[in-house]
């Protein structure tokens, strides 16, 4: 009886130990080794979903300290780490000395961590990923192929052909002059051999004059032609005064529209947010840059160099991800590109909000530019495939001819927009006898243009 009972107790105690261990393992399955044997792949997806918006696996500070070397740093129990992630305030309330030191060190700067709904097993996986981060943060290339016009340009502009023309002309003159002098010395030699007097020696100018008198008809035709060319050139030159097409100045920061608009698909009005509200489209103030660049500290073209200029302007320390206190902020001095004269009134919101125009209708394919550029009118016309209804214009961009040409052609959707102003105009015209006449006149071509609603009145833009 003794033996079996002894056997039973042995068995029972073994069973009890097993159950204990099992229940223990079930209750806190990570007790031994939260730092090892986690599922790295699962940890990566968990990390990206829950932690990556504030923490990096490197030592870099994002919105909270980087997690590199956390295993060596963590100076408390494994359960406390799980508790700290699941409920930071609760973990602090336990009075654990290490957690207390964490709170003192970080909460004042970065605020409380958001409580994360992850299990202890999840934490184990996350820690596995944090300890085995991918070797290099491989740059993720955008699916969009985004080049700037500078990168696309291959052939030279025609300015070089004008230089070749001039060089040819100079060569021609040299040949003509030397041929003339060769001819003259040959003739002199002939005269000398015949025993006659040599031709009188003349300066270049005198000989050219004598040649011109001998070929008067040809010279006058050529002279007329040259005068005509010069007058045309002068006229064209004068027409380019005050025309800024192709103005593409270097900016203080090497900003690329192509990266922001094309690669990362940020809307124009995210940065130029006052385009729909005010006269000016607005240059984003530095705090708007920081909405993304608080987290994105390395640019894809220039690393941290160009972004550093923004940080210097606003007083941000990219090392610890914090703004410097009592910093004297400096505005960034961008070079103004689109500059209308003081005597012209132009309102962005009227065109964006009321007329519903796309930015590209007037500014061209900005997503292929670096900084600001005044797109030539031919370039804008060519966008008609992408922007149906884009009006083809002939006058240079940003000139008055360009404005009124568009106002003459652009139709106003009197019936399609729910703008009360047009409703009012329509009613007034309907009720008025003279108005009726006007209305009929306007509707002869079955469309209402901006011009017909006063878009060609001088005082619309000049007052």
């Amino acid at each position: 009886m003794n033996l079996p009972s002894k056997g039973m107790t042995k068995f029972q105690s073994a069973l009890r130990a097993l159950t204990l261990m099992l229940s223990f393992a079930l209750l806190s399955p990570v007790f031994a080794g939260i730092w090892d044997e986690g599922d790295i792949a699962n940890g990566e997806s968990l990390f990206k979903a829950n932690c990556a918006s504030c923490h990096k696996v490197t030592a870099e500070v994002l919105a909270a300290p980087g997690l590199a070397g956390i295993k060596d740093r963590w100076d408390s129990s494994d359960e406390m780490l799980v508790k700290w992630i699941q409920n930071p305030q609760g973990a602090a309330a336990t009075g654990d000395p290490y957690v207390k030191s964490l709170v003192e060190r970080y909460v004042g700067t970065y605020g409380w961590m958001t409580a994360q709904a992850v299990s202890a097993a999840d934490v184990k996986d996350i820690m596995a990923y944090v300890q085995n981060p991918p070797d290099v943060a491989e740059p993720v290339l955008s699916e969009n192929e985004c080049l700037t016009i500078d990168e696309m340009q291959t052939e030279d502009s025609d300015s070089s052909s004008a230089i070749w023309f001039l060089i040819l002309f100079v060569l021609f003159v040299i040949i003509a002059v030397s041929a003339g002098s060769v001819k003259k010395s040959l003739e002199n030699a002939k005269l000398e051999s015949e025993g006659k007097e040599p031709l009188p020696s003349m300066s270049y100018f005198e000989s050219a004059k004598a040649w011109a008198w001998r070929h008067l008809a040809w010279v006058s035709v050529a002279g007329l032609f040259i005068t005509a060319v010069f007058i045309t050139m002068a006229y064209k030159g004068a027409m380019e005064v005050g025309v800024y097409e192709g103005y593409y100045p270097e900016q203080p920061i090497k900003f690329y529209h192509s990266i922001h608009v094309c690669e990362n698909e940020v809307d124009c009005q995210y940065c130029h947010s006052s385009a729909s509200k005010s006269k000016h489209a607005g240059i984003p103030s530095t705090n708007v840059c920081m909405n993304c660049h608080k987290g994105i500290k390395n640019g894809s073209r220039w690393g941290g160099e160009e972004l550093g200029k923004i940080y210097a302007a606003i007083g941000f320390n990219p090392e610890n991800g914090q703004y410097i206190e009592d910093y004297e902020e400096q505005p960034i001095e961008w070079v103004k590109v689109h500059n209308l004269p003081d005597h012209v009134y132009f309102n962005h919101s009227q065109h964006v909000e009321v007329a519903g125009l796309q930015c590209q209708n007037c500014h061209g394919d900005v997503q292929t530019f670096k900084g600001g550029r005044i797109a030539p009118v031919e370039e804008i016309n060519a966008l008609v495939d992408d922007y149906p209804g884009l009006i083809q214009l002939s006058k240079p961009t940003l000139t008055m001819g360009w404005c009124i040409e568009c106002h003459n052609k652009a139709e106003v959707g009197v019936t399609t927009t729910d703008n009360g102003y047009y409703e009012e105009i329509h009613n007034r015209l309907k009720d008025d006898m003279r108005g009726n006449e006007e209305l009929r006149k306007y509707l002869e071509d079955e469309k209402v243009t901006v011009k017909e609603l006063g878009g060609w009145e001088c005082s619309k833009c000049h007052y």
Binding site: S53, G111, V140, N264
Partner: protein
Amino acid sequence: MLLKNTFLFLCVAALLGSCISDENSPGLEYMPDMYRSPAIEAYVDYGMDPYHFGESQVDSLNSRMSARKPAQGSIAYMGDQMAFGMPYPYPNTTEGYEAAGAGLTSPLPTTQANIEEGQEIYEIMCIHCHGEEGKGNGTISKNGHIEGIPSYSEKLKDLPEGNMYHSIQYGKGLMGSHASQLSQKERWQVIQYVQVLQNGGTMPEFDENGNVMEPKADAATDAAEPDADDTTQG
């Protein structure tokens, strides 16, 4: 003699060539003073204008810069939007965030017009990070620049509107403050659209005036539908 003439000619040619195009120069201005207003205009650098002002005046003129911060404590005049003009009472702290979540509610009725307006704003202001469906997978996230943006329909499904407003006002985590880009009314409009996204993107039903109809008997099925969507997409 010949050489000298040729040299002169080349010099003239080079000069002509150089003035043909320089991207850094705006070109010639006709009557340059007409490009700068004597009245203060935004984005005009008065200090740079050599025709109007001498060097000595530049410093004082630079201080007339038009894009400036409003004086501290200014309250924006909102015209007919009086309900949205008041300063934000909650401080930028964790306690303020909690308090806003508990106490702050929208003064704006939920209507079709507001939600559609909110969607337009969302597609300008939020979509590149939060993604078209609010799942945190916008282009910036897909390109790997900012990761871990929480999904409205999962992690932030029950986020109160006061917390959303607080986050737009002050920013949260990596998200910066969008108070300078959105008016108070626009913030509430975009929040109405985010609430649609919290609900899996299903628009509520509207009556003929565009007001949201109160969900009645089929409220349970309404609530179940977006959940089913989530599981299939997740």
